[in-house]
């Protein structure tokens, strides 16, 4: 192969002009997208997670929802990018038949930030885990969230280090015995949603690998959000931390031990839909409906509240006293980092004489030698 017969486009091809992306490309009418199928988002790579891993379900739900996400938002498949760090979860991009970048440990949000900043028309997903996102990459996660850059960040939380074969993670429960903590950990775990809320994430949600319908809905809602979307997905590692979520995720107890959040609706749960959460002073409590307690006494979910107090309260609910809330905790609208940056660049480019390199080089005080 010589250079001349390599299939190449020149740099003045209008197709390949990311400088204008988001400016010109965003306003041009897009041709209708072909109807994709799940197969269109399935790459030719052999999936190498352990049999029985929760990651399979998350991958399947993602591949299922992408056709409808692309159709609804009129995004062609080639404009979808998955970026990941290191860890079991971070193999995800290899299995999606989209553009993908498997980067280095903890840093996925940084690569995604550079990409999204310069190519705002792309839909950029970040796939990370509890070690990747909260331990080595905690700093980047926090800053991507606070900037409200339009990334969809999925944190697969299995409360263990899988790829390094079973050490405790920052979300492992206190006292957990692992290879690196034979006498039990002496560390307080971190709650991913509380990190997201503290960083003022404009979208924060939680779902479960085995609740495929809920997971699909949650991923679709994250995809539809404009701004940073953070989704914690409880994901079972059947090799090193099997059954980590069984106490509330097992189908036999799930309805009694989880609470599905719905905007504008009272916080009701239980297989008989007769339990609810109400506020006593500043503290939540579980109550049973009937015996003088009605729906009107319960807290009503408001994901659109600018004030994150309710979302904090929900994120703090934990076993065994409370059900585990699943769904969208927070969903508010704020200008995105990529929009604001793009707008500064576009405004500057519309100034008279913008882009005149000769004028820039010759600016300031000059003198001429004859």
């Amino acid at each position: 192969m010589t250079e001349s017969n390599m299939p190449l486009a020149s740099n003045d091809s209008p197709l390949r002009a990311p400088a204008d992306a988001g400016g010109l490309a965003a306003v041009l009418p897009q041709p209708p997208q072909p109807a994709y199928t799940k197969q269109d988002f399935t790459s030719d790579q052999i999936v190498r997670w352990c049999p029985g891993c929760g990651d399979y379900s998350i991958l399947a739900q993602m591949q299922k929802i992408m056709p409808s996400v692309c159709a609804k938002q009129n995004i062609p498949r080639e404009n979808v990018v998955f970026v990941s760090g290191i860890g079991c979860s971070s193999r995800f991009p290899y299995y999606m038949n989209t553009y993908g970048f498997h980067s280095i440990h903890g840093r996925a949000p940084t690569f995604a930030t550079g990409l999204k900043s310069t190519r705002p028309e792309l839909m950029v997903w970040v796939v990370t885990g509890d070690g990747d996102g909260l331990s080595i990459g905690g700093n980047h996660l926090m800053h991507a969230l606070r900037r409200n850059i339009d990334l969809k960040i999925l944190l697969f939380n299995n409360r263990i280090y899988g790829l390094t074969k079973g050490q405790y993670s920052p979300t492992s429960e206190m006292g957990k015995k692992t290879k690196s903590s034979p006498m039990g950990t002496v560390e307080q775990p971190i709650n991913p949603l509380l990190i997201a809320l503290a960083a003022e994430a404009t979208f924060a949600a939680r779902s479960l690998d085995t609740d495929t319908k809920h997971l699909q809905e949650t991923l679709e809602r994250a995809a539809a959000h404009r701004g940073v979307a953070f989704v914690e997905i409880f994901q079972n590692c059947n090799i090193f931390n099997d059954g980590a979520f069984e106490s509330f995720a097992d189908i036999s107890v799930r309805k009694d031990k989880t609470l599905i959040l719905e905007h504008g609706k009272p916080l009701i749960f239980g297989k008989d839909r007769n339990k609810g959460i109400r506020l006593k002073g500043l503290k939540p409590e579980v109550v049973t409906l009937g015996q003088g307690i009605t729906e009107a006494d319960l807290l009503v979910h408001d994901e659109k509240s600018e004030d994150p107090t309710l979302a904090y309260l929900l994120a703090h609910l934990s076993e065994p006293e409370f059900p585990i809330p699943l769904g969208v905790y927070r969903n508010v609208s704020r200008p995105t980092y990529d929009q604001l940056l793009q707008s500064q660049v576009e405004t500057s480019k519309s100034k008279p004489n913008a882009g005149n390199l000769q004028a820039l080089l010759a600016s300031g005080d000059t003198w001429t030698v004859e």
């Binding site: 010589t2 250079e3 390599m6 299939p7 190449l8 486009a9 020149s10 740099n11 091809s13 390949r16 990311p18 400088a19 790579q45 062609p76 498949r77 080639e78 404009n79 990018v81 970026v83 991009p93 290899y94 038949n97 989209t98 553009y99 993908g100 970048f101 498997h102 980067s103 280095i104 840093r107 949000p109 940084t110 690569f111 995604a112 930030t113 550079g114 990409l115 900043s117 310069t118 190519r119 028309e121 792309l122 700093n139 940056l341 660049v345 500057s348 480019k349 913008a354 882009g355 390199l357 000769q358 820039l360 080089l361 010759a362 300031g364 005080d365 000059t366 003198w367 001429t368 030698v369």
Partner: protein, 650 residues
């Protein structure tokens, strides 16, 4: 640059003002000039010298960087060749009047082609006793000392460690001393503006500048313009500074503080239009130019760090060129975002200094593995660790060459002068974009903050950078290579049918799929090394200044030592010494003819501001018994240091 602060100078310095002696202004009007026995050569030079080296020194709050910059700028505008050496402490504001708080700015202005800020100052402007104490030993015998007499009160003397007032013992014997009550005269001069004591006191640097303007017969108008621009929003402060400048000038004139004004004629620079440029500014402009000629948007991700931050500042002002700047949360995020932008088709850039390179190293490896075009600027400073943040050094060469896990070669370039940063920034971008790999641009603190006259290039003369992207799904393979350069193709997200995945795991040759195959790994390791080596076919050969056919001694350097080496070799050659010079701008790969050049000389001398890093590479690769001249003092070489070593070896 004039009017641009290098450190937060020219700001409040009330403590110092309080300690200044409040002697009677009338008494101070007569300059106290002691002219000691001035050596003959200094006296001759004073009439119409070819060049003058001035050092302005004072407290970090005295505005010495601004004063030096303004004098430099003025000298450039009147047509002198110039070269500068700002030298300031890392502390933003060390305690006033103390030795660690002394900030200096050395400037060489000349009617000849000069390439360094000069070995030793001939004139020292000392705004307080500490500035005198720190700098006096550098002054040439018989040199001129201009003192702010008001600052030589008891407490300031003590803080500087003087037991006896240096003006009253033999400390200043042999120098031409000019004492002026700069503080009090400044307060008098700015009184009409009605500004407060603090603001008024801060104008004393302009009074000192006015004194120097008269001594060297400089026009004040360009500087007055600059002052008015700088303080545009505070007209009374602008007025006070102008009044102080004029007062200094008029005072010097009235008092004739030197017997004759001193004139340095215009330099005979090649024809053209010039401006004064500093290294970091030139680097930023070079990147903007590279983005323009390559048609790529520019993305610069950076975390603030001395002495690289000015590149971020400069680029962030030029969004009208499609420049995206990102102040990252840390060094790793800065390069991560840069690689992400490059994946999306931008010219991805990041800049830092040595400590930042340490943090970026893993991501640099990822850029090598994913074969994406990025440029990493390392504005070197004194190390290791935090080291000497504001001082210069060249000790990151081996770090950028080898400081990564695995066999991880990348391209390394180094500009030679502040203006050369422009050209080499374009060159780094060109190599990255056309060879599809990371390139390190090694500048240093001396280049970054030093200034020189810069012939403004014409845009049509800039190199062309042709960037091509893959578009054909039928033939695209992520790791298929151009046979000439071994560059892989750039396929941008958004291109239909080219969806592919890349990452840090080893790639299968051609397909880019993850591969743990033993032979494939070795093939890929060799391919990545060969790809860097092939850049040698695309760069100019090394030129020898002097005897191209060879000779007794070759002095070879890289980076900012260029000026001192060039001048030292020139001096020895004029005396008949058989010495030549060569300067490496390409450090990995080396120019193809380097081995041949080295073999033509009996001896090879490598002056470096480190313990011998280039020498180590030359010895390893060419088996040449190179001799080192090594200086690690946070200061650039003096011409005479290199000259002396050359003499020793000839």
């Amino acid at each position: 640059m004039a009017g641009r602060e290098r450190s937060p100078e020219n700001e409040e310095d009330s403590e110092n003002a309080k300690t200044e002696s409040a002697s009677n202004i009338e008494e101070s009007m007569a300059p106290n000039t002691q002219v000691a026995s001035v050596p003959k050569e200094v006296e001759d030079r004073n009439r119409e010298p070819e060049n003058v080296i001035i050092r302005f020194a004072g407290d970090s709050g005295d505005g010495m960087q601004v004063t030096g910059s303004m004098f430099t700028h003025n000298s450039a505008l009147v047509g002198n060749d110039i070269s500068t050496l700002p030298d300031f402490p890392a502390e933003i504001r060390a305690p006033a009047g103390t030795l660690p708080g002394v900030s200096g700015f050395q400037l060489n202005f000349s009617s000849l082609d000069i390439k360094t800020p000069g070995d030793a100052p001939e004139v020292l402007v000392a705004m307080n006793p500490a500035a005198l104490k720190v700098n006096l030993s550098d002054l040439v015998p018989g040199g001129m000392v201009v003192l702010n007499a008001d600052a030589f009160g008891g407490n300031n003397l003590k803080k500087a460690g003087y037991v006896v007032d240096p003006r009253e013992d033999n400390t200043l014997a042999g120098y031409q001393v000019i004492q002026v009550q700069i503080s009090n005269l400044t307060l008098q001069a700015v009184k009409p503006t009605g500004i407060g004591q603090k603001d008024a006191s801060r104008c004393k640097n302009m009074f000192a500048l006015g004194l120097m303007f008269w001594i060297y017969d400089r026009p004040m108008e360009p500087t007055i313009r600059t002052i008015r621009q700088k303080f545009g929003k505070k007209p009374e402060i602008a007025e006070a500074n102008v009044l102080a400048l004029q007062a200094g000038y008029n005072y010097a004139d009235t008092m004739e503080i030197v017997p004759n004004q001193i004139r340095v004629s215009k330099a005979q620079l090649p024809k053209g239009t010039y401006k004064m440029i500093m290294g970091n500014e030139a680097t930023a402009l070079g990147f903007i130019a590279a983005a323009k000629v390559s048609g790529r948007p520019l993305f610069y991700g950076s975390y603030p760090i001395t002495p690289a931050s000015d590149i971020l500042h400069e680029l962030s002002r030029h969004k009208e060129f499609g420049v995206y700047t990102f102040q990252a949360e840390d060094e790793i995020a800065a390069i991560g975002a840069c690689i992400g932008a490059s994946f999306g088709g931008a010219l991805g850039l990041t800049g830092t200094s040595g400590p930042g390179i340490a943090l970026k190293s893993e991501a640099m490896g990822l850029a090598v593995m994913t074969e994406l075009p990025i440029v990493i600027v390392d504005v070197q400073r004194g190390g290791p660790s935090t080291g000497l943040p504001t001082k210069t050094e060249q000790a990151d060469l081996l770090q950028v060459m080898f400081g990564r896990n695995g066999e991880c070669p990348l391209c390394v370039l180094a500009p030679a002068t502040p203006g050369d940063c422009f050209r080499m920034a374009i060159e780094a971008s060109r190599i990255a974009l056309t060879h599809m790999l990371p390139v390190v641009l090694l500048t240093d603190g001396y280049l970054a903050n030093g200034a020189e006259p810069w012939p403004i290039p014409r845009v049509e003369d800039l190199p062309k950078i042709s960037v091509k992207f893959a578009t054909d799904p039928a033939t695209y393979q992520p790791y298929r290579r151009d046979p000439e350069t071994l560059a892989r193709q750039w396929a941008l997200p958004g291109t239909p049918g080219l969806e592919h995945r890349i990452g840090g795991l080893e790639k299968e040759d051609v397909t880019g799929n993850v591969s743990y195959d033993a032979e494939n790994h070795e093939r890929m390791v060799r391919l990545r090394a060969e790809k860097v080596a092939k850049i040698a076919n695309d760069i100019p050969p090394l030129e020898v200044a002097g005897d191209a056919e060879g000779g007794e001694l070759l002095v070879i350097g890289w980076g900012s030592t260029y000026g001192a080496i060039d001048q030292a070799v020139g001096r020895v050659r004029r005396r008949g010494g058989k010495v030549s010079a060569a300067h490496l701008r390409y450090l990995n790969p080396f120019p193809a003819n380097l081995g041949d050049v080295l073999s033509r000389f009996e001896k090879v001398l490598v002056p470096e501001m480190n313990l011998g890093q280039l020498r180590w590479l030359l010895r390893a690769k060419y088996l040449v018994d190179a001799i080192g001249l090594n200086k690690v003092q946070g200061q650039p070489f003096k011409i005479k240091e290199i000259e002396k070593k050359i003499e020793e070896l000839l």
